[in-house]
Amino acid sequence: MVMRRQLKEKFMRNLFTLVAFASIAILLAITIFLFKEGLPVFNLISVKDFFFGIYWYPTSDPPDFGIFPLIVASISVTLLSASIAIPLGVMTAVYLAEVASPRVRELIKPIVELLAALPSVVIGFFGMVVVAPFLQNTFNIATGLNLFNASLMLAFMSIPTICSISEDAVYSVPDALREASLALGATHLETIFRVVLPAAVSGICTAIILGMSRAIGETMVVLMVAGGAAMVPSSIFDPVRAMPGSIAAEMAEAPFRGDHYHALFATAIVLFMFTFLFNLIADYMSHKYRQVGDATL
């Protein structure tokens, strides 16, 4: 009887280990596949020409595989959307955790999180049909399908991530800190900005990075509203072509294991590097500025 229980225990332990390692194995398999399919493009073109070539003409003869405009597009779209989403997301989080009454909080938080439930194709369509003509008419610009429109739509998508995770971080700051601050005579506002926010900074940083990595990897929205012109933008109202949109639009037509196919996979490697970097930074942030107990502030 005892043996049996031990056996069962052992079995369950191994089962859970196996499950945990399954996701690692899948990630590893995908990464290997990505590199296997992407690296052959460098037999055709040098690494420097691939990263810094400014012409992306994958189907002309001879083809040009320069992804510099695509990288610039992805980075600029992400940074611009972050500069819109971070203030909005973090401020909303602070309001919800510190200022709003519990009833308002219970009402608003699910609504903000519902924004994340909107399918990206719906947000893209909204940007295409509503926001693009509005931008065109308001700013009198050539086209509403541009960097700014895409950033705005991506900001909508990353606000729920940023808000929800930062709100958890701010909310979980121990009450002892707030009470101590107030007892020392600090106002409510001073307490929020000098005590609560610094205490929650690791969680907020993680929230921001995760929000940004959602924005850089988002495909449908940039495919629909960024305009799709593979050029280095000179203003925020220029059309751009971001990496995920380019991969999605061209992969179906690229000849299997052809140069174009390999170039798209190499683009995917670059994209993977970016999101990987973002995740590493998020991990580092959450460890470095981790609030341990009440006393370490």
Binding site: S60, A229, A230, A249, P255
Partner: protein, 272 residues
């Protein structure tokens, strides 16, 4: 009541499995992704009318389709271009005689916003616009507004025709907005007074206005007569003169009442 229903369902399912496994014939179609929507639509209708035939369709491009005909790995090859001399030689060497059938015409029409006063452009003007040389509508007889150039992704079949007939081996300039589908081009042009785009004949709606090219309005007649410059015939190839199911399917595809009706639905110009 419920029991009889269940019985019918079982009978139906059983019947389908039975007939499929006993009489099933398979037809393999490979090749051009441009022709794919046509054969796809026709095959769906065909399989509905003749449930004992199983048709499997895949893309891969015109070259791969013709190669499959030469190797004998497909019954029908879709191709958006005519067969090359080198391919004919290869085929004859392998004892295959490729037989072409024209199945539809591809007609690509430039479109602008309905409020745009321009109604006619020459091929050279279109080439200049798509190469980024013409940046203002007033240079081609329109108002003083910047031209917003909308193109298709460089890997699409529609772009291929445009590149061949309008750009004539020049490249579309990097500032052109590339859209992933004809629907997105219509959407982009309909929402932008300064935009110009191009779409397959079947995608024209009231929200955009088609332009004449070299004075010729794109229509079924001008496409079939060859007067409209941005058009091309689409082909299928068989290995030798088709027989049996293959021949039956091709007759269905070419039938003005059946297959050719669906050609129109797929956004192409039918033969008749």
């Amino acid at each position: 009541m419920k029991k009889t229903n269940m019985f019918f369902v079982f009978a139906l399912v059983f019947n389908m499995i039975f007939s499929a496994s006993v009489f099933a014939e398979t037809l393999v179609i490979k090749g051009s992704t441009t022709v794919l929507p046509i054969t796809q639509k026709v095959a769906e209708a065909y399989m509905k009318d003749f449930p004992n035939v199983n048709i499997s369709i895949s893309g891969g491009g015109s070259g791969n389709g013709i190669k499959a005909i030469i190797d004998g790995t497909t019954d029908i090859a879709n191709s958006s271009r005519f067969i090359k001399d080198s391919e004919v030689k290869q085929a004859i060497d392998k004892g295959a005689y490729p037989v072409p059938f024209s199945v539809a015409y591809d007609c690509i029409v430039p479109v602008v916003h309905p409020d745009n006063p321009v109604s006619d452009l020459t091929l050279d003007q279109l080439q200049d616009i798509y190469m980024g040389k013409v940046k203002n509508w007033k240079d081609v007889g329109g108002n003083d507004h910047p031209v917003v150039v909308i193109s298709r992704d460089t890997s699409s079949g529609t772009y291929e025709v445009w590149e061949e007939k309008v750009l004539r081996k020049e490249r579309v300039f990097p500032g052109a907005l590339l859209q992933a589908s004809s629907g997105a081009v219509v959407q982009g042009v309909a929402n932008n007074k300064n935009a110009v785009g191009y779409i397959g004949f079947g995608y024209i709606t009231d929200s955009v206005r088609a332009l004449a090219v070299n004075g010729v309005v794109g229509s079924e007649e001008t496409t079939l007569s060859g007067a409209f410059p941005v058009s091309r015939p689409l082909f299928i190839f068989t290995r030798g003169w088709p027989e049996g199911t293959t021949a039956h399917f091709i007759k269905y595809l070419l039938n003005p009442e059946k297959g050719q009706n669906l050609v129109k639905e797929a956004g192409f110009v039918p033969l008749y």
